[in-house]
Symmetry: D2
Subunit: 346 residues, 4 copies
Amino acid sequence: MIKASVIGATGYTGVELVRLLDKHEQVELKYLTSQTYEGQEYASVYPNLAGYCTKECVAGDISKIVAESDVIFVALPHGHAVEVAKKADAQGKKLIDLGADFRFDDGAIYEKWYKVAHGDHELLSKSVYGLPEINRAEIKEASIIGNPGCYPTSVILGLAPALQHKLIEPNSIIIDAKSGVSGAGRKLALTSHFVEVNENINAYGVGNHRHTPEIEQELGKLAGESLTVSFTPHLVPMTRGILSTIYATLKGNWTTAEVRKIFQDFYHDEPFVHLLPEGQWPHTKWVYGSNNCHLNLLVDPRTNRLIITSAIDNLIKGAAGQAVQNMNLLFDLPETTGLLVPGMVP
Amino acid sequence: MIKASVIGATGYTGVELVRLLDKHEQVELKYLTSQTYEGQEYASVYPNLAGYCTKECVAGDISKIVAESDVIFVALPHGHAVEVAKKADAQGKKLIDLGADFRFDDGAIYEKWYKVAHGDHELLSKSVYGLPEINRAEIKEASIIGNPGCYPTSVILGLAPALQHKLIEPNSIIIDAKSGVSGAGRKLALTSHFVEVNENINAYGVGNHRHTPEIEQELGKLAGESLTVSFTPHLVPMTRGILSTIYATLKGNWTTAEVRKIFQDFYHDEPFVHLLPEGQWPHTKWVYGSNNCHLNLLVDPRTNRLIITSAIDNLIKGAAGQAVQNMNLLFDLPETTGLLVPGMVP
Amino acid sequence: MIKASVIGATGYTGVELVRLLDKHEQVELKYLTSQTYEGQEYASVYPNLAGYCTKECVAGDISKIVAESDVIFVALPHGHAVEVAKKADAQGKKLIDLGADFRFDDGAIYEKWYKVAHGDHELLSKSVYGLPEINRAEIKEASIIGNPGCYPTSVILGLAPALQHKLIEPNSIIIDAKSGVSGAGRKLALTSHFVEVNENINAYGVGNHRHTPEIEQELGKLAGESLTVSFTPHLVPMTRGILSTIYATLKGNWTTAEVRKIFQDFYHDEPFVHLLPEGQWPHTKWVYGSNNCHLNLLVDPRTNRLIITSAIDNLIKGAAGQAVQNMNLLFDLPETTGLLVPGMVP
Amino acid sequence: MIKASVIGATGYTGVELVRLLDKHEQVELKYLTSQTYEGQEYASVYPNLAGYCTKECVAGDISKIVAESDVIFVALPHGHAVEVAKKADAQGKKLIDLGADFRFDDGAIYEKWYKVAHGDHELLSKSVYGLPEINRAEIKEASIIGNPGCYPTSVILGLAPALQHKLIEPNSIIIDAKSGVSGAGRKLALTSHFVEVNENINAYGVGNHRHTPEIEQELGKLAGESLTVSFTPHLVPMTRGILSTIYATLKGNWTTAEVRKIFQDFYHDEPFVHLLPEGQWPHTKWVYGSNNCHLNLLVDPRTNRLIITSAIDNLIKGAAGQAVQNMNLLFDLPETTGLLVPGMVP
């Protein structure tokens, strides 16, 4: 059994990790930390787990937790994972960071967009960007995983085959993304207040959202050249789900059928990525509660653009589920262990 | 492996059955019938199952389906299960009806409230009301299960300990119930049209909802005397979940602690029924996607009334999950097989 | 023109007052106070008013505000209106408190349920409970109005004809109420966090909600005897609207038609209270954005109970609209001035 | 008083027209037609209007209705307005079509995208595209108004200043639009079924939505050259509101401040179009229930793109409100009559 601990277990990605790990047949939940709820039963904070999880929330004696765990999931806001990672690295333990601290190859880019010092640029060289469909081999050998952001996951999976096959102009990419409110976390804010969000949609972070450099870094690697994208996120009155609608200019003449073939081949063996039948555009509801990514695409001959939509559950494939998928890879388990659950409809 | 078929597989209780049975380790899905979608892939109707369920929808050659199945789930509107049940009975197969046709001891009551002929009153004597927490022993021996209605499930579980212990005046019971829209099914209707339901709540079926006689039948058995209740359902702008708020006058003087003790003892060994800590009132979200029923209660000394709230997921404990629980009992499997999933929060 | 100021103008009842008063043909908006947004344009806080309201938020120099206003609306949490009312009283100005400080005849009951000292019990004798349909004559002569709570408004309008005609047993009344989230205000709280509220319903304040004594006080006056009620509020995933479902045992034999006749006569001349046609149960959506109260009722002969449902917009008839209605009465304007707007459907 | 009739009065644009016209001080509602509800009181179909609208639904004796009306609003699906318009034209009456039949200069384009014969191409020459901010002068002289589609209204208002000032490359325009469900009307469909829409977002009509040629026609006129756009609509789980996010490549170097100045000048005298302060991105909730259009924009120097978001209430500025604005112009009334209502927040 893999002994797993979650640092920051009472946020929304935290509870999703707990729910997934609790039923994972190869995992023993070790420590769940929470500053706010220290000493309280975890199920009193999340009563959905009454009768399932009997752990208590503990304070963060990180050294002890690392020592007694095989893998540490860090589900804290950015800027807090490096200290944990140093300890894990020193003790030879695996660390999966669900924040942004280990997603960048270049610490300077992180510091520019996140406006905090990184703390340990060298550790970055030991970390891998944890998108299994792209970096599977590297992930297996890594000790620190930078678990991808929710938006970047949906975008990179949507564009990878097109970029790798050089179908599109790299600098023509426009990403219009829509997210449910759980992506903003459990922290109280007027922008997550029910009355402000309900019966409303709005763009936010236009031109400056922090997932932009992460998207550009990974798409650039797939394209084989650096590129710049427009990325505009929107807040949708729903709890879970991200839909990214992606526009790019085609380099030559392609038919929808030809591009579909390239995508089908690319994702042929992937258990979690599904190209839907032609004309059936992804609904976030169809991936609700699952680790799946649903894709569809169209070549629009009027504009010679490729249009792709990509749907994930932001808390699962966009966070906790992908983290478990990475853990499975790190520990040589079948990659789908504990994750083969379809979306819940209705 | 139990060979299971679902008659009427493309409604909302149908797809929930398919989702639960598909991952049930002791079940082989045999036939999924649909009049509307005959010949189409099931996953084209419910794309959440793309990559999971590879069955096709078939027309209803009931005799063949019964012959090749060990258990038949009927997920049709009321009035259509009797014909299937006759065939199942003749061939010695188990049948679980998720409609109302086998919920009543007295066919005349069914006919009065549902305004259709029953078709075979005798078969009723071979059927059992499938609420495991109350009728476990009888269910194990039955061949036909009348799977309880969603509202009655929440109400009976909420009141059983109080009635059995004769804490309350039977004729004082008032049930104010609130349901998500999936309870109304996938059939198109203005009352399920998004724009009419969103940002709205209303009562419906006041004084004449068909779940009333079902509730009265089962509560009457628990009370040991016939009784009459007020039952008022409401439509809430959400997909899943039922919350029943139940009021009853206490017969004597009881404290909240004393009544809690009685409920705790009553449900002590039940895997799916949880009395929450004092003051933590059930949220339907906490049982979302699970087979759980969450309860809480209060003795209000000002009015000498017992107030209980009871939350279930109407599609799981209120329909498909309970049907699987009944199947487990019918086939001597551990009762929780395939059902030990906590609610999904957030 | 009536010079009107709003103390606490940036909460949800505050902005609703501003919206209604801004278009009221007999009102000049004078001061809008806000601690949080002092010095900012009101329309920067509520951009829906861009192009409509050009006022700035000011700090609360109450004496000056009172001196320069004819009527002061207090839209603060309870416990803060008494100090303003003293100043208004001293200067002979009208005050309408949308909080609880002037709703009670007996200051001791206020202090028991609200757990703060009242500050000036004598002022209570100068205030009137501002429900125009019940207290119209007294309101016209008053200087301080205790604007009713949202739940009590829906309940008292629902029960007044039945109690005044002594149709029902006073102590048999059970009120099961459902509210949208705006009733909890703009203050950040986990219980108003989108992700916690969406796709959920729950009871709260069971047995101890502060609107209980207000309801009992006013219903007791209508009944001509003191009484005790069960009152259970619920939180519904919508922004606006309250639906109260009310149960009471009839004293004698009545038909639905007879009771309807009593209600129709009682509300015959009321512009804002509508008894819907038999069988058409109120939807909160139908009163959304209006000062209307929609009612319907049924005599259930099986239980000899009267069942009433009552729908209002909690921010309008349950708060700001009713306050404007009271202002109209205080200043001898036609009672409906600025309020004859139907509900917005869809 | 202007005598106004509504053909097809019980759909969602119909009821919005009725609500706006009913309170319009210069309008007398004459006939409300409905095939489904002929002979029923209008307020029984839309109970929000109980106590406000006392009209009955009538069948469509179009000749009589036209004869007795000064203006006829047609709120029918496309393909049904031409017959009414012929009669109105013959009798010299004004007609405002809320469908697509009079939006196109070239009947052939209509027929290609809508796949029906138009019926009278000549009448098109007598009609004007009814977007007052662009075509005010022509509207005043017209007899037939093609009231703009909801999506096109949001898009054209968002782009007009940029195109007229030749700031952007015409063929670089990408429009990612998001709409509430009321845009799909009251007609029952699985895609408007609550359970399918709630907690979901999806694209639809990708590459082939019928508003595309309408957008291209009007943007082309503003640009002074024909152009092609990418237009992708999405369905959002809310009732009202459209948000269009628009991307276009700038022709030269512009700052946000410079482009803001151009927009401010362009809309300086417009009562319904508001450019919000820099950084405050439009929320559809802020225009809910109003005839307003809220805009904001950003020049992104990283990509040299102009990003604009534009929010309207699809039923008001996107349909009924704009129709009333057009009527005001046709009858030389102040353009804002009956429409100066701010958005309803919360």
